[in-house]
């Protein structure tokens, strides 16, 4: 890394941290801390969502997979559209009309405190895990650029720790206002960075027959084969269930961070516009931005410019080095940092919201002043960053970021997604049914990690490709969702339903127009 790159990267770190700190210094209440005073229009919400949805791991893991599988990697982004009507038609009206401030609070109103407790536990695990993945990604990248110690694992961990401290600093001070302001800036930067790499790579390939000619044959397919990909581990059916069904639903419906972002809009119509703008316009652009490095690498390998020796998660950095000049390289690395900080800050703020609104305020210390809860929220932000860091060594056990992330979300998200969908759409879904979905569903998924043969009937013919938790990495989501639906439906059939009055503004058909 050249001196100018280091200067740009450090300058960027400091700028964003100060930007977030100054933007959020007027935060005086928990409503401002978590919902930024509900004053933003769809464009600000939409652009800031991009930075939240695209994590630093996105650039690294999608470039790695795009290099191996070409356009097929876009299936992970291009399958968001199918959730648009459910979000607009069911979830957003319920959120606005029921007046809930968090996902667990919705479950409390819909089912009672036991379900809220189960959801809170799973949700915190889901969000802290996401934060951990982001920290680890940047640890990998920064270690590649500048190792801090000889041991790579320790060096990655130390870099993760430094980034976590910076993130926690500005989120702690400004909350959601800081998050939105920094994400707005970072969303634009990371899209520009992705397109810059693609553009510079295409320009460089012009002397070698052009990008399209070198990006040939199977690389152009927009889907990987349903149950056998080459190289293995990227099967269409598994990806569809893990990413399209479980992860996308979890990200847009269950993710407290996204929910708070849409509730920061000044009204419901602005929230709807923001969602349509994100899913139909910005996500396709983001897909191109995060995959571009891998596509360029693949075309360059065919053209003989790139030797293909870089390991999977290093592809993005190596290609950026090839196509950029000193200075620009630093800026691209800054964009990667932007992606991390913007995703992590949202999740840190969201986890703090859950800690305050769903644990501290109702159970630990009810009836205190708002300034007291604001203080707790700030400490919760620090605690969340620490928990994210503690999960980094767990993810280090996986072969690459894509696998670690896929395995994690396929295991954690199905009970949450199924409970929310049934709770939102089906009046006869009972408290006992929801508990069965969340608790028994999670237990069965954990058992499937010990005995992967349970997943065989749902495997679509995909090879287990591993043992224990590493077997059936993606298609486990299909197994989990079907099991959770089955448990919820069976138990609800035989247990007591709630009255219509109790379901007002909480379930489809009972929402005030």
């Amino acid at each position: 890394m050249e001196t100018i790159d280091v200067v740009i990267l450090i300058g960027y770190f400091l700028t964003v941290t100060m930007f977030g700190f100054l933007g959020g210094r007027g935060t005086k209440t928990t409503k401002e801390f978590f919902f930024a005073g509900q004053r933003y229009g769809w464009l600000v919400i939409g652009m800031s969502c991009v930075a939240t949805v695209v994590g630093s791991y996105s650039f690294v893991k999608y470039s790695s997979r795009a290099y191996e599988h070409g356009f097929a990697v876009t299936q992970n982004y291009f399958n968001d559209w199918m959730w648009v009507p459910l979000f607009l038609g069911a979830w957003l009206p319920i959120l606005w009309m029921s007046g809930v401030a968090s996902v667990p609070e919705f479950f409390h109103k819909r089912f009672g405190p036991k379900v809220r407790a189960a959801v809170t536990a799973l949700l915190v695990l889901y969000m802290v895990g996401y934060i951990g993945i982001n920290f680890w990604t940047l640890g990998i990248v920064l270690n590649k650029l500048h190792p801090l110690v000889a041991n790579p694992a320790w060096s990655q961990f130390m870099w993760s720790l430094i980034v976590a401290m910076l993130c926690a600093f500005y989120v702690t001070s400004g909350g959601q206002v800081s998050v939105i302001m920094t994400d707005l800036f970072q969303g634009a930067l990371l899209l520009m960075a992705g397109f810059a790499i693609l553009g510079m790579g295409v320009y460089m390939l012009q002397e070698h027959g052009g990008f399209w000619a070198n990006f040939s044959g199977e690389a152009r397919s927009s889907f990987s084969p349903l149950n056998q990909s080459s190289p293995p581990g990227f099967d269409g059916a598994g990806l569809f269930w893990q990413d399209g069904m479980a992860n996308t639903a979890a990200f847009y419906f269950v993710n407290q961070g996204l929910m708070m972002r849409f509730l920061s809009a000044k009204n419901q119509a602005e929230g709807k516009k923001a969602l349509v703008f994100v899913m139909l316009v910005l996500m396709p652009l983001a897909a191109i931005a995060v995959c571009g490095g891998g596509w360029i690498a693949r075309a360059m390998e065919t053209a003989g410019i790139f030797d293909g020796q870089a390991a999977g998660d290093e592809i993005f950095i190596v290609i950026t080095h090839i196509v950029t000049e000193p200075g620009v390289f630093g800026l691209i690395m800054a964009a990667l940092t932007a992606a991390l900080m913007s995703t992590a800050d949202t999740l840190i703020n969201a986890t703090a919201a859950v800690a305050v609104n769903d644990v501290w305020r109702p159970y630990v210390s009810p009836g205190r002043s708002d300034s007291y809860y604001l203080k707790v929220a700030r400490w919760a932000s620090v605690g969340t960053a620490v928990c994210g860091i503690l999960l980094v060594p767990v993810f280090m056990g996986f072969e690459n970021i894509f696998d670690a992330h896929g395995t994690f979300t396929a295991a954690i998200t199905p009970p949450l997604v199924v409970a929310l969908m049934l709770g939102m759409l089906w009046r006869k879904y009972t408290t006992a049914g929801a508990l069965a979905t969340l608790v028994l569903g999670t237990i069965v998924i954990l058992i499937s990690m010990k005995y992967p043969s349970l997943i065989d009937p749902f495997s679509h013919g995909i090879d287990a490709a591993g043992e224990g938790a590493k077997a059936y990495k993606y298609i486990r989501a299909c197994f989990g969702m079907i099991v959770c639906i089955g448990l919820g439906v069976i138990v609800s059939t035989f247990t007591k339903k709630r009255t219509v009055a109790e379901l007002k503004n909480l379930v489809m058909g009972e929402v005030e127009h």
Binding site: W81, M82, V84, F223, F458
Partner: protein, 193 residues
């Protein structure tokens, strides 16, 4: 055989190149319909607010068209499987050589060597009723093929047929394998159409 593969076979798209596309859009359509119905029940798009449906339904068609276009670009070209005898290549592994080559052609005229791809399926049974030859596939620890070898079984002489298919495409090809008296054999290339 899993439940889903059996279902796929019943509907006739198991192993077809377009099956992941059909799979995503079929399941996605169900979710779309549920969402549209929910919005209708919740009064989100009554008669005055139907403009919301334009980006929703239009977006769906746009994604389908875009993904379909690129997926078509990466489709193996019809009748583009090329089978041929290869010059034996000495490998460092235990099995010494690969004497069969399989290539798949694409719309943009590029070709991909599929000989050692785990999606390539060699059928040395249906076209060889007298069991004159066999295809030996050696795999590494990760179950990836490292060598594909056609060898006579010693059960007699004559001509048999080797068929090759793919798990991700319904393209197939066949070639004749002629085994002679002295145990030697000739692999005839298929003719690319």
């Amino acid at each position: 055989m899993t439940v889903f593969i059996q279902l796929g076979e019943w509907f006739g798209f198991d192993g077809a190149y377009w099956s992941p596309f059909i799979y995503q859009y079929a399941v996605g359509l169900i979710l779309m319909c549920v969402g549209l119905w929910a919005g209708s029940v919740n009064g989100v798009w009554p008669s005055g607010r139907r403009a919301w449906l334009i980006p929703i339904i239009g977006g769906w068609f746009l994604f389908m068209a875009g993904q379909g276009l690129f997926h078509h670009q990466g489709e193996p070209k019809d009748s583009s499987v090329r089978l041929s005898a290869c010059q034996a290549v000495t490998e460092t592994s235990n099995v010494a050589k690969t004497n069969l080559c399989v290539e798949l052609g694409y719309l943009d005229s590029s070709r991909l060597d599929m000989t050692l791809d785990h999606r390539t399926e060699y059928d040395d049974v249906s076209g060889d009723p007298e069991d004159l030859f066999t295809v030996q596939i050696t795999k590494d620890k990760k179950k990836n093929p490292v060598s594909v070898l056609v060898t006579p079984t010693g059960n007699g002489v004559g001509t048999a047929v080797l068929r090759v298919g793919f798990s991700h495409s319904q393209l197939t090809a066949e070639m004749s394998v002629q085994v002679s008296n002295d145990g030697s054999f000739i692999i005839a290339a298929n003719e690319e159409i």
